[in-house]
C-alpha cells in the first residue's frame, strides 16, 4: 500500500487547518459560546436526573385538596406532625402556613397539651377560618368536647370519665399507631436499602469507566518517562551542538567576508581595465577613422607627394624656375588677374578667401593689396617658401587635404587659377565636390584654365608645361559644375592673341581668327546656391 507522503496531491492539510484555526480565533461570532456549548458531562447529568432512581421518600401520601371545600375531619387526622399542620392550614385557611403560625401550632401539638382536633378547631374558629368557611364534617363534636374538657376541675373530671369510656378505643388506637410506626420504619428501611443498592451500582459503573482509563494512564506515564529521557538527552547534547554549529558558522562567515573582499577587489580591477580598454579602443577608432580619411586623401596625392624629400626639393626648384620663365611677367599676370577683383569686392575684406595652387602668389598679393586676407595652398615648397617670405599666408599642403580638413560652409571665395589642367578627371571631380561643400551658401568658385578652342594653345603651347595633364573643354566644365549644383555659372573667354592677320569678313577669316588667334584662356565663375 502507498503511504500518504507519496501522494502527488500537493494539498497541505495541516497548513489549511492552521489557517482555519487562526481565522476562527480572531472572529467575533454572532452566536456566543454560552448559547451553544454543553459538555457531555452536563448532558449526562441532566439526563440522569430526569430518570433518577433516587426518588424522594414520602412517608405519607400527597395531600389532595378538594374543590368543593367539603372535608371530613379524618382526611386531615391521618397526617402527623408537620404534614398535619401544613395540610390543616391548606384546608382550613386555604393557604400555606406562615412561619410563625406553623411553628406555634407545631409546638402546641408536640407539647401534647393540644391535640389535632384542638388545632383544627382553633384554626377554623379564627377570623380567617370563618371567612374561608370550609366545611369539616365530624369536627364540631370533638371540638366541643375538647373545649368542655378545658373547663377547670369539671373539665378534668369530664376528661377522666370520657377517657375511661373510651379506653378500649384508646387501646385500639394505640395498637394502630404501633403498627403505623413499624410500617413507616419499614418504608424508611426499604428506601435506604434501595438507595444503597443504586449507589453501589453507580460506583461500579464509575469504577469500570476508570479502569478504562488505566491503560491510558500507564501510557501517559510511559510517555512521560520517554519525554524525560529525551529532554535529558537533548539538554546534554544540544547546547554543545548548537555552539559547534555557531562556531562553524562564524568561521564560514569570516571566510566569506574575506572572499567577498577579494572578489570585490578583482571586480574593481577588471572594471578599471575594461574602462581603460574601452577608452583605448575609442581612441584607436578615432585614429583609424583619421587614417582612413587620410588614406582616401592619399589617392588624391599627386605623384610628386610620394617623392622622397631631396628629390622633391630639386624638382620644386626646377619648376619654380620654369614658372618664372613661362608664366609671364608679374605685371602682366596681375593685370589679367584684375578681371576677378570685381567679383571679390562683393565680399567684405575679412572674407575667407582660399586660393588653391597659389604658385608665385600673384593673386594673393593682389588680394592683399586690396585689403583682403587670403589664404593660399601650394605643394611646391620653393614657391611656397618664397610667398611666405613675402608675408603671404601660404601653406605647403596638398589642396585636397586642405579642403578635406575644412569645415563645410566656411569659405566665401575659392579661386583655382591654372590648376585644374594639371589634374585628372577623378581628382577634378573630387576638387569641385569639396569646393562646393566648403563654400558658404552664396560663396564663389572662380576657375581659370587654358582654352583648347585656341588650337595652338590646345595642341602645342599647352604642352610647354610638362606637368599639364589635359586641356579642359569649357562646356564640359560648365556642364559638370551645373550638374554638381552650382548656380549662376558664367563662362568667359579671356586673353585673345594679338596681331591676328585674320581680320575682316573674308571667307574663313572669322573661323581662322577664332581658331588661331582666339582667347587663350577661359574662366568659369560659379556660385554655391544660397540656402
Amino acid at each position: 500500500m502507498h503511504t500518504e507522503s507519496s501522494d502527488e496531491n500537493d494539498l497541505d492539510v495541516d497548513g489549511l487547518m492552521h489557517a482555519i484555526r487562526e481565522a476562527a480565533s480572531k472572529r467575533d461570532y454572532k452566536i456566543a459560546k454560552a448559547d451553544l456549548l454543553e459538555t457531555k458531562l452536563a448532558r449526562m447529568f441532566s439526563a440522569a436526573e430526569a430518570e433518577t432512581s433516587h426518588a424522594r421518600l414520602a412517608l405519607s401520601p400527597e395531600f389532595e385538596a378538594r374543590s368543593d371545600d367539603g372535608y371530613h375531619v379524618n382526611d386531615l387526622l391521618r397526617y402527623q406532625g408537620r404534614d398535619f399542620v401544613t395540610n390543616a392550614y391548606r384546608v382550613v385557611l386555604k393557604r400555606e402556613p406562615d412561619e410563625a403560625g406553623f411553628l406555634h401550632n407545631l409546638t402546641l401539638l408536640q407539647s401534647g397539651a393540644y391535640n389535632k382536633i384542638d388545632i383544627l378547631a382553633s384554626l377554623r374558629s379564627s377570623d380567617e377560618g370563618k371567612r374561608c368557611a370550609v366545611r369539616i364534617e365530624g369536627l364540631k363534636l370533638p371540638a366541643t368536647i375538647r373545649s368542655v374538657e378545658r373547663i377547670p376541675v369539671l373539665g378534668y373530671v369530664l376528661q377522666c370519665l370520657i377517657g375511661w369510656a373510651r379506653f378500649p378505643a384508646t387501646l385500639r388506637s394505640q395498637r394502630q399507631f404501633q403498627e403505623y410506626v413499624v410500617a413507616q420504619q419499614s418504608l424508611i428501611a426499604d428506601y435506604v436499602n434501595q438507595l444503597q443498592e443504586n449507589i453501589r451500582t453507580e460506583l461500579q459503573q464509575h469504577a469500570q469507566q476508570l479502569t478504562r482509563l488505566d491503560p491510558l494512564a500507564n501510557e501517559m506515564i510511559h510517555l512521560h518517562a520517554q519525554l524525560d529521557s529525551l529532554e535529558f538527552t537533548v539538554r546534554q547534547t544540544l547546547p554543545q551542538r548548537i555552539e559547534d554549529g555557531e562556531e562553524r558558522l562564524r568561521q564560514t562567515a569570516a571566510q566569506l567576508a574575506t572572499l567577498s573582499g577579494d572578489l570585490n577587489d578583482r571586480l574593481n580591477n577588471i572594471s578599471q581595465l575594461l574602462v581603460q580598454t574601452r577608452l583605448e579602443l575609442a581612441q584607436q577608432s578615432v585614429a583609424s577613422d583619421e587614417l582612413r580619411r587620410e588614406l582616401k586623401n592619399a589617392n588624391v596625392l599627386t605623384e610628386r607627394m610620394t617623392m622622397p624629400g631631396a628629390e622633391r626639393r630639386s624638382w620644386d626648384k626646377l619648376y619654380a624656375a620654369f614658372e618664372e620663365e613661362f608664366r609671364g611677367p608679374v605685371a602682366e599676370v596681375e593685370e589679367r588677374l584684375r578681371f576677378y577683383l570685381p567679383f571679390v569686392r562683393d565680399f567684405s575684406t575679412d572674407a575667407a578667401i582660399l586660393d588653391l595652387g597659389s604658385g608665385r602668389g600673384d593673386w594673393l598679393a593682389l588680394l592683399t593689396q586690396q585689403g583682403f586676407q587670403p589664404r593660399g595652398v601650394e605643394t611646391n615648397e620653393v614657391l611656397a617658401d618664397d610667398c611666405r617670405k613675402r608675408g603671404l599666408n601660404v601653406e605647403t599642403i596638398d589642396m585636397m587635404v586642405c579642403l578635406r580638413k575644412l569645415v563645410a560652409n566656411s569659405v566665401d571665395v575659392i579661386t583655382v587659377f591654372h590648376l585644374i589642367e594639371h589634374v585628372g578627371i577623378d581628382d577634378l571631380l573630387h576638387l569641385l565636390d569639396q569646393a562646393k561643400r566648403t563654400l558658404k551658401p552664396g560663396g564663389l568658385l572662380m576657375l581659370e584654365t587654358p582654352s583648347p578652342e585656341n588650337i595652338p594653345v590646345g595642341a602645342c603651347n599647352f604642352y610647354a608645361d610638362p606637368t599639364h595633364n589635359k586641356p579642359i573643354y569649357p562646356h564640359t566644365l560648365m556642364f559638370i559644375l551645373r550638374n554638381l549644383g552650382f548656380a549662376d555659372c558664367k563662362l568667359e573667354f579671356l586673353h585673345p592673341v594679338e596681331n591676328s592677320p585674320f581680320v575682316g569678313d573674308s571667307p574663313g577669316f572669322p573661323q581662322l581668327n577664332q581658331w588661331f588667334f582666339g582667347p587663350r584662356d577661359f574662366s568659369v565663375i560659379a556660385r554655391k546656391p544660397a540656402e
Partner: protein, 353 residues
C-alpha cells in the same frame, strides 16, 4: 438493501469466502432481511461440526449465547470486533440500549480471554481495545469492514433527490444511524454558526434511520433545532435506498461527522469514494479511517467546523483537491479488493484458506 455496516461486512466476507470455494452460511438470533438466507443461531453447532470449520463471530453487542458458542465449539473461532458504543450515550434515551451496550462492553473481556484463534478488528482503535483486554498481538489483525461502495458507484442517482438538493444551496451531509453517539448536536450547532456568520441558506442533510427506541434522542435533537431556529435547515431523511444515497452524496458539498464514538465509520469511506470533502472531529476510530484525506479537528468546536466549511466553500481548488485526496485514500486503502486481500491474509495465518 438497507443493511447496516455490520451486515454488509458479513455479506462481503461471505462472498469472498464463497469465491474461494468454501461453504459459507450466515446465522443470527434475529434477522430482518429476507434477501439473504440467514439461519437460526441454534443450528450453528450442527453446521460447524469438524475441527477444520471456522466460526466468524461478528461481535457488536453482549450476547451470552455467542460467548458460550465461542467457548464450547471445537472448530476454529475468529472474532470480528466492531466495537460497542459505551452505554453512557444511551442514558436518558433508552434503557434497553444502555443495558445491551453495558453488557456488551463487560463481555469484551470474556471474549478476549476466550482464546479464539483470530481476532479481526475494523480499525486500529478497535484492535487496541482487544489488546488491552489481553488478546495476543500475533492473533490480532486489522481488516476494515466490507462495504457497498462498488454498488454505490454502479447505481444511478435518484432524480428526485438531485432535483431537491442540487439547487445552489450549500449542502452539508452526514450519513449514519440517528444514535446519541453520533454527535448530531455538534453538527446542528455548527450549522447554526455557519448560517449566522456566512451563509443563511446552508442546509444539513442527515441521512439515516431513527432506530426503534431512540425516538427520544431524535426528539431532543428536534428541540435543539427549534431552539436554534433551524427548522427548515436541518433535514432528517430517514432510511434511504441506494439510489437516494448516491444522490445525496452527489448533492453534498461537504461531509461532516462529529461522532463521539466510532468503530470504523463506513460512511467516511463512501464519502471519500464519492470525492466529497470531509470535515470531522477526532474521536475513536475516525482519525485512522480519514488519515490526512480530510480535516480532522481535535477539538469538538462548532466554530472550527463552521469556519472549515467557509474556508472550503470559498476555495474551489482546495475543496476539489481535498475530495481527490479522499478518493485516492479510498483507492489505496479501502477498496473491497484490498479488504478481501487483508481478510484472506489474516485467515491464512491460521491456515484457514
Amino acid at each position: 438493501m438497507n443493511a447496516d455496516a455490520i451486515s454488509n461486512d458479513l455479506y462481503g466476507m461471505q462472498q469472498v469466502l464463497a469465491e474461494q470455494g468454501h461453504d459459507v452460511r450466515l446465522f443470527a438470533q434475529n434477522s430482518l432481511t429476507t434477501e439473504h438466507e440467514i439461519g437460526p443461531a441454534t443450528e450453528i453447532k450442527n453446521f460447524l461440526a469438524s475441527r477444520d470449520d471456522l466460526l466468524i463471530y461478528h461481535y457488536s453487542m453482549g450476547w451470552d449465547f455467542g460467548l458460550d458458542l465461542v467457548r464450547e465449539l471445537n472448530c476454529r473461532t475468529a472474532i470480528k470486533y466492531h466495537n460497542i458504543t459505551p452505554p453512557e450515550y444511551f442514558v436518558g434515551y433508552s434503557k434497553d440500549y444502555e443495558n445491551v451496550c453495558r453488557h456488551g462492553r463487560l463481555q469484551i473481556k470474556d471474549i478476549a480471554q476466550a482464546n479464539c484463534d483470530l481476532y479481526l478488528s475494523d480499525s486500529e482503535y478497535n484492535s487496541w481495545e482487544l489488546l488491552l483486554e489481553g488478546v495476543d498481538k500475533s492473533k490480532s489483525f486489522v481488516v476494515p469492514p466490507f462495504h457497498q461502495v462498488d454498488n454505490l458507484n454502479r447505481v444511478a442517482p435518484d432524480e428526485a433527490v438531485l432535483d431537491s438538493y442540487v439547487n445552489g444551496k450549500t449542502n452539508i451531509l452526514m450519513v449514519g444511524r440517528v444514535a446519541p453517539n453520533k454527535g448530531h448536536a455538534t453538527l446542528i450547532r455548527s450549522l447554526a454558526v455557519y448560517r449566522a456568520e456566512y451563509d443563511p441558506d446552508a442546509q444539513l442533510l442527515i441521512v439515516g434511520r431513527v432506530p426503534d427506541q431512540l425516538e427520544t434522542y431524535a426528539e431532543s435533537l428536534q428541540q435543539l433545532i427549534q431552539s436554534l431556529k433551524l427548522e427548515d435547515a436541518v433535514i432528517f431523511t430517514g432510511g434511504v435506498s441506494d439510489e437516494q444515497l448516491k444522490a445525496y452524496y452527489l448533492a453534498a458539498d461537504f461531509f461532516m461527522l462529529a461522532s463521539e464514538h466510532e468503530g470504523f465509520c463506513v460512511p467516511l469511506v463512501e464519502a471519500m469514494a464519492m470525492k466529497v470533502p470531509i470535515i470531522t472531529c477526532a474521536s475513536s476510530a475516525v482519525p485512522s479511517t480519514v488519515g490526512k484525506a480530510g480535516l480532522v479537528w481535535k477539538e469538538r468546536s462548532p466554530y472550527l467546523l463552521a469556519e472549515s466549511v467557509n474556508f472550503l466553500a470559498n476555495d474551489d481548488a482546495t475543496r476539489a483537491a481535498l475530495g481527490v485526496r479522499g478518493r485516492r485514500r479510498y483507492e489505496r486503502s479501502f477498496t473491497n479488493e484490498m479488504i478481501a486481500t487483508a481478510f484472506l491474509q489474516a485467515l491464512a495465518s491460521i491456515s484457514c484458506i
